[in-house]
């Protein structure tokens, strides 16, 4: 225990004395949260759609068929009551629900006006804006065609409704993204650099000759970055709640739990990288190229995963940030319960187990 205590203290000295690095690590989340205020626009294809459609309504069916035929949408489901809408979103069966009013054809032909409601999942606001805009466009074209070819004059009024994120704040989308990126950066990159530095300086050799248990070495390397990650997590959450006014819709405990799990995965990744490299520069490059870029591009933080070609979609499944960001979105923004992020939690746990097992094995080999 004395060993562990002396060693953890030493690790804190290392970090606290390196003023520039600690300053960067503490300020980075603040700067990123502010910078990412500018959300990026992206095109969305093959969005899953559920429809609520009156039975045997000719025009409504014709319009639905046209929506399904476009490259933007796939109608995957027909629901029968309005109360089913919530369930569709909760289980992520569709991103958009189109509700045709009863007597859609009759109203259009007799009264000259009928209504359609477009209810979008705006957890990802860019995507939601895009696809509701496409849907409205298709509806308008249909109306135009009707007037010219079938001589049915009349207006179809689409009413767009954004669920979960009514003001379409981009912040709702990038807060989970920044969380996912900062945590992996600090945990994985800094941990791997810290361990590799000992190898490079030659102090690792002295530690290996000493009675210091390898497990203690690892634990004490991890401890300060764990603390630092918790500080950053708190900063980001406070900033997003009080400055960006993004509320935590769901359970705070679930959010903390999934974040701790993610931090653990990231630390294990850092440990693995440190066993694969011998210089600080290569550790930094591997974490930079191997972690940062996939986190930025493949996690759904900037580009929607649904929009990627299949190989990239498959590749994104091994990026831990993808699952973490999805879970944070569900809990923090959609306000869903723990049961809804069970899949993400399971995948992250699996990743943690594999990474820890592999890196512990590798770390022991170094002793030989």
């Amino acid at each position: 225990m004395k060993q562990l205590y002396s060693f953890i203290k030493k690790e804190f000295y290392h970090i606290l004395r390196d003023k520039t690095t600690i300053l960067i690590l503490l300020l980075m989340p603040i700067i990123q949260i502010i910078l990412f205020g500018f959300a990026l626009t992206t095109e969305v294809r093959n969005t899953n759609v559920a429809i609520l459609i009156p039975a045997n309504d000719v025009l409504a069916n014709e319009l639905a068929a046209r929506i399904d035929a476009s490259s933007y949408f796939n109608i995957v489901e027909q629901i029968h009551t309005k109360s089913d809408i919530q369930a569709v979103f909760r289980d992520a069966r569709a991103k958009l629900v189109i509700v045709f009013e009863n007597d859609f054809s009759k109203n259009l032909m007799q009264l000259g006006v009928s209504h359609i409601q477009l209810i979008a999942d705006a957890t990802d606001p860019n995507a939601a804006t895009s696809f509701s805009f496409y849907a409205s466009n298709i509806i308008q074209n249909y109306q135009h065609d009707l007037a010219h070819q079938a001589f049915i004059p009349g207006t179809i009024t689409p009413e767009v409704k954004m669920l979960y994120n009514p003001q379409m704040k981009g912040a709702f989308n990038f807060v989970p993204g920044v969380l996912g990126m900062i945590l992996i950066l600090i945990c994985a990159m800094m941990t791997s650099i810290a361990i590799v530095r000992e190898k490079e300086m030659g102090t690792m050799e002295v530690l290996l000759v000493s009675p210091m248990k390898p497990l203690y070495t690892i634990l004490s390397k991890i401890a300060p970055y764990f603390v630092l990650s918790c500080v950053n997590f708190t900063t980001i959450i406070l900033l997003s709640v009080f400055v960006l006014k993004v509320p935590i819709a769901g359970s705070f405990a679930s959010l903390v739990f999934v974040s701790l799990l993610y931090i653990f995965v990231a630390l294990a990744l850092g440990l693995l990288i440190s066993t694969l490299t011998t210089t600080q520069v290569s550790a930094m490059l591997i974490s930079g190229m191997g972690l940062m870029i996939p986190v930025m591009l493949l996690s759904g933080m900037i580009f929607p995963i649904e929009n990627m070609p299949l190989p990239l979609q498959l590749l994104s499944t091994i990026v831990p940030a993808r699952w973490y960001i999805a879970a944070v979105k569900s809990v923090m923004i959609q306000g869903l319960g723990f049961s809804s992020i069970l899949r993400e939690v399971l995948i992250l746990s699996l990743m943690a187990t594999v990474l820890v097992a592999v890196s512990m094995k590798k770390f022991k080999v170094r002793l030989e």
């Binding site: 004395k2 060993q3 205590y5 002396s6 060693f7 203290k9 030493k10 000295y13 290392h14 004395r17 390196d18 300086m201 030659g202 102090t203 050799e205 002295v206 530690l207 290996l208 000759v209 000493s210 009675p211 210091m212 002793l367 030989e368």
Partner: protein, 245 residues
Amino acid sequence: MENVIVAKNLTKRFGHFTAVDNISFEVKRGEIFGFLGANGAGKTTAMRMLCGLSKQTEGIATVAGYDIHRETEFVKKNIGYMSQKFSLYDDLKVWENIELFAGIYGMNDKAIRSNTDLLMQELNFENERNALVGSLPLGFKQKLAFSVAIFHKPQVVFLDEPTGGVDPITRRMFWEMIYKAAENGITVFVTTHYMDEAEYCHRVSIMVDGRIEALDSPANLKSKYQAANMDEVFQKLARKSQRTE
């Protein structure tokens, strides 16, 4: 006197390459044992096996009475080690480095405090106690590294080319510290490139191509090989080397 290090037919192979080839020797308590050899002769590999850093392919050895393979943990508790590279933490203060390594070797706080005070006096380091190690001159660092390596009073201390890059005066002072440690019963196992340093050792072994070619006191070696100094002895033996670096 009792043997502190005993090696019998110690061999280490990496694939087809035999780095250390069947070496046997004993080192007695309080002895300063010089371990000489050209680069690539196998000194570091042999030393690593004795420290428990590397597993021998064949043979057995005990250090401080413990088997280097089966009782590695006990071996580690009873040895000190100073590596080629400077191996203290530059961003820690002098006393923090001492405290860290003493803590790793399980010394209690009281002993750490009183021994630190004593050491600071001995080294005349009282003013540098709170200085960051990185700010000290190399000679100071080297002396400190050695003091840290023997701070927990190990039975054996392994020094891997401890005086590389140090000026002659500091080297001289460093060897005085080694003598003092030996007088206090600490066995010193030292590898070096400097042949004048080999003269300071009680006994010297010279490795060529993984084998021990000669092992005796510097005086006996010089008379046996009819050489004026250790450098000549070394030249005569090292010329037999088949290995290219």
